[in-house]
């Protein structure tokens, strides 16, 4: 069972791939440019890029031999929705609890 969102989340599970996505948020980059900050072998870099590509987070250009990588917005937007949902079930519940506690205590002092 590999739906798109799960592929996206699994791709993000690795810090190297997250760093690559952030680099691409600044503009397109070649495979060499993407791999430059890391002390990883060329095959390891290629593997990370393939995972990002398969998850639909980046695409490869057809231009010349460098085939520059670019960020693909669609999957990131879908991911954003999921993160929002996530924040709702965590932070928002804490907010609601906080509001309720202060209401309860306000009532207590009115008596």
């Amino acid at each position: 069972m590999t739906d798109q969102l799960s592929l996206t989340l699994a791709a993000l599970a690795d810090p190297t791939r997250r760093a690559m996505l952030l680099r691409l948020a600044a503009g397109t980059a070649t495979v060499n440019e993407l791999g430059a900050p890391f002390t990883l072998s060329q095959p390891a870099i290629s593997k990370h890029i393939k995972v990002l590509e398969r998850a639909g987070l980046i695409s490869r250009g057809r231009l010349a031999q460098t085939r520059p990588c670019r960020l693909e917005p669609g999957k990131l937007l879908e991911l954003n929705d999921f993160m929002d949902h996530f924040r709702v079930v965590t932070e928002q519940q804490m907010d609601q609890l906080e509001t309720y506690l202060s209401e309860l205590q306000a009532k207590g002092t009115e008596k």
């Binding site: 069972m1 799960s6 989340l9 993000l12 993160m83 506690l101 202060s102």
Partner: protein, 164 residues
């Protein structure tokens, strides 16, 4: 690979006994978990070690989100450890409605700490429980998206998307 935990904590301006009561009693839970529709909050609670809590909270669209919890450790005003899952209306464990490879079971630990002066810190920590490799990767992706500073950096990507 054991995934790093996801932690959310908050300091409440309320004494620990009140925070404990409000957080663990379904009558209170209905009021803060479902503030717009407390009557719509469904709860069947057996609050003891080995006991379960089957609950349903109406979402913004009116659809009820069911969950189930099994208690593993209860130390009043100190700690609750439970295994949490999404569920159907009958209490059977169900996949996450948006991400089917989200871990079926999450080990959730809530720590309550009296900070004095009528303030209480509550910290909720999640780790996948009995998870498959795929479930662990799904959890780690979401955790990384929310914590570890990456949520701020995520803003950079949002800014990029907004400029397209």
């Amino acid at each position: 690979m054991t995934p790093a935990p996801l932690t959310v904590s908050r300091v409440f301006k309320a004494p620990i006994a009140l925070v404990w009561a409000v957080h663990t009693d379904p009558k209170h839970q209905a009021k803060w978990l479902s503030p717009d529709n407390p009557e719509g909050y469904l709860s069947k609670l057996d609050f003891r070690v080995g006991g379960t809590h089957h609950y349903g909270a109406p979402g913004p669209d009116g659809a009820i989100m069911y969950g189930t919890q099994t208690f593993r450790e209860i130390v009043p005003m100190k700690k609750v450890v439970l295994v949490q899952s999404f569920a159907d209306k009958d209490g059977n464990i169900a996949p996450h409605p948006m991400a089917p490879t989200w871990p079926r079971e999450i080990l959730s630990t809530t720590d309550y700490e009296d900070l004095g002066n009528g303030t209480t810190r509550m910290a909720v920590t999640w780790v996948p429980f009995n998870a498959t490799t795929v479930e662990e990767a799904t959890f780690e992706g979401a955790r990384a998206g929310m914590q570890g500073g990456w949520d701020h950096q995520f803003g950079q990507i949002e800014a990029y998307l907004a400029g397209l």
